[in-house]
């Protein structure tokens, strides 16, 4: 736990938002401050604030320029005091099954070559990670998980690949993600999951909350086919 509390940096974003920055790293302690600020600002009900968007190390605070302005909102945010990196609230833990290999892992061999590991070692490293949901971003339900073990961290591909289907289990640097809709991506696809991070027809289409944890588990091709056939959400 980080005891040295640093006043967050607040920067204007155009005329209808500001960014509250707690650092520049993907780090659980920094992220805990982001979440603390997210709930504190939400609870404070600052007049004119329209939207809060947490990310790895910053919180975006949107406001309506017809109702308030940068000076007023930033003063109200500062008045809430430094954000304590309090004891991590125990987010829910989700088991996310993954089927590796068997034609579902287009980049597994390449990741093995680039990391100097066997495919099996890459899979085991991926399974051993303790993943934290840092933020949603890019596209609906894209949950950015941090916690990929060092030995399989690779920079993203130089050019994105088009039309990656939903359910692709991908890694890039310290980040992991399971796709929810067809999108281009430069990340490495090492498996496929029937787990749905986005459930468009349900009352809560985003079952996982930022701050929740994810453990990947291994599933066989047969179990994968069965789960997909049953329209699995798990």
């Amino acid at each position: 736990m980080n005891q040295s509390l640093i006043e967050p940096a607040i920067q204007p974003v155009g005329d209808s938002g500001l960014m509250v920055r707690f650092g520049a790293a993907v780090d659980p302690d920094i992220h805990a401050q982001v979440l603390e600020a997210d709930s504190a600002i939400s609870a404070a009900g600052i007049e004119g604030v329209t939207e809060l968007i947490p990310s790895f190390a910053a919180l975006f605070v949107g406001y309506d320029p017809l109702q308030t302005d940068f000076e007023t909102v930033s003063a109200a945010v500062r008045a809430l005091g430094p954000m304590k990196s309090k004891e991590r609230t125990s987010g829910q833990i989700w088991q996310v099954p993954v089927c590796y290999g068997d034609g579902l892992s287009p980049d597994l061999a390449e990741v093995a070559v680039r990391t100097g590991l066997s495919e099996e070692e890459v899979i085991n490293a991926h399974l051993s990670g303790d993943y934290l949901l840092y933020m949603y971003g890019f596209a609906p339900g894209y949950a950015y998980l941090g916690g990929v073990p060092k030995e399989i961290q690779l920079p993203r591909k130089t050019a994105p690949v088009r039309d990656i289907p939903a359910g692709a289990v991908m890694i890039a640097g310290p980040q992991a993600l399971v796709t929810t809709i067809k999108m281009p991506t430069g990340w490495w696809i090492i498996g496929q999951s029937p787990f749905q991070f986005l459930r468009p027809g349900e009352d809560n289409p985003f079952p996982l909350a930022v701050g929740d944890r994810v453990q990947f588990t291994r599933m066989s091709r047969d179990d994968f086919e069965r789960a997909v056939g049953q329209g699995a959400k798990t």
Binding site: G14, D15, S55, G62, P65, D69, E71, G137, P140
Partner: protein
């Protein structure tokens, strides 16, 4: 009573849009909604529709529809398109009644990239997270409208009294001048790069859709590599990827990104910018957040005044003359 339409032709990116789904960016969902929210608001007022109002956003490609059933009062607002009903030219911004068998033709006119076709009634279309706004990239709430599609308007009403021709206000036209608030990552760029951004004109490229608009002009090399993890992106953000061309993010923008944002287009100029066309020149100028807030409020006041004038512009010239006479009392019964 409902009215039905068949789409005979639709340009690319023609879609149903409403107010959008604000507040969902924390789940990776952009707000979507109209590219030009000002024109959309004028149309809603002209048709006296409530906040849930949805309309068809017509791109520069235009659109042709045939009314196959029912009668309904409709309006078109935005840009400066050429609009005709059964071959009869209408004013570019106008309200008219479409009857079964009629064909409405919307063609790109002299200026503008987006226009809004709405009805006195409710367009039946997919809904997600409380909004009918089509999110083209995800396909989670419908798809672009293409030839052969049918559009059903339920609770369709004929409101002959809403008929009008509206003047195109200056605030709804692309002006060629767009103001930006520097940052939040302007410190990733050399001072001369920041200078070039506001001193040289940029050109709007063909690389322009509902997600963003790529500009071409002096290249914006990143002086200091960014060691910042991904963070929230907002509409209007001017993001600079490795190619060095600024991209202005718009209605369907991705919600987070890791490229540096050199500046953000001010709220008051976001809508008029969307009406630019490829090869148009844009001059950027800096504003402080406080100045931009003032400009947003001034713009809002101008739009409000315009919205309030719509009622006065309804009806034929004779109708308007009669109304003004009744109010001023100059012309009495003896005339």
């Amino acid at each position: 009573m409902s009215a039905k339409f068949t789409v005979s032709f639709a340009g690319p990116l023609v879609s149903v849009q409403d107010y959008g789904r604000p507040g969902s960016m924390r789940f990776g969902v952009p707000r979507s909604g109209p590219m030009d929210r000002t024109s959309f608001a004028v149309l809603r007022r002209a048709l006296e529709q409530n906040e849930g109002f949805a309309a068809i956003e017509v791109s520069i490609g235009g659109m042709v529809l045939k009314c196959t059933e029912g009668n309904v009062t409709a309006g078109f607002v935005g840009g400066n398109f050429s609009v005709s009903l059964d071959g009869q030219p209408q004013s570019p911004w106008s309200v008219f009644t479409i009857r079964a068998g009629s064909t409405l033709t919307i063609r790109p006119g002299l200026e503008g990239s987006w226009g809004y076709l709405g009805f006195c009634g409710k367009i039946n279309s997919s809904e997600w997270l409380g909004s009918q706004a089509t999110h083209l990239a995800s396909g989670l709430c419908g798809h672009p409208l293409a030839a052969g599609a049918t559009i059903e308007v339920s609770e369709a009403k004929v409101e002959a009294g809403f008929t009008c021709s509206l003047p195109i206000p200056d605030f709804a036209r692309f002006s060629g001048n767009v103001r930006i608030v520097p940052g939040p990552q302007d410190d990733c760029f050399a001072p001369e790069t920041l200078g070039a951004l506001v001193s040289e004109p940029y050109e709007v490229t063909q690389d322009y859709d509902r997600m963003g608009m790529r500009l071409k002009g002096p290249s914006l090399p990143i002086a200091e590599e960014l060691s910042m993890p991904s963070e929230a992106l907002v509409r209007g953000a001017v993001q600079v990827p490795g190619h060095g061309d600024p991209i202005v993010l718009l209605a369907d923008h991705q919600t987070t990104g890791g490229y540096p944002k050199i500046s953000t287009v001010i709220t008051a100029d976001q809508d008029q910018l969307t009406q630019a066309r490829a090869r148009d020149k844009v001059r950027l100028a800096s504003a402080t957040p406080a100045e931009a807030v003032k400009l947003a409020r001034a713009q809002h006041a101008k739009v409000t005044t315009y919205l309030e004038s719509i009622a006065e512009l309804r009806g034929s010239f004779e109708d308007r003359l009669r109304r003004s006479n009744l109010i001023s009392g100059v012309v009495g019964d003896e005339f």
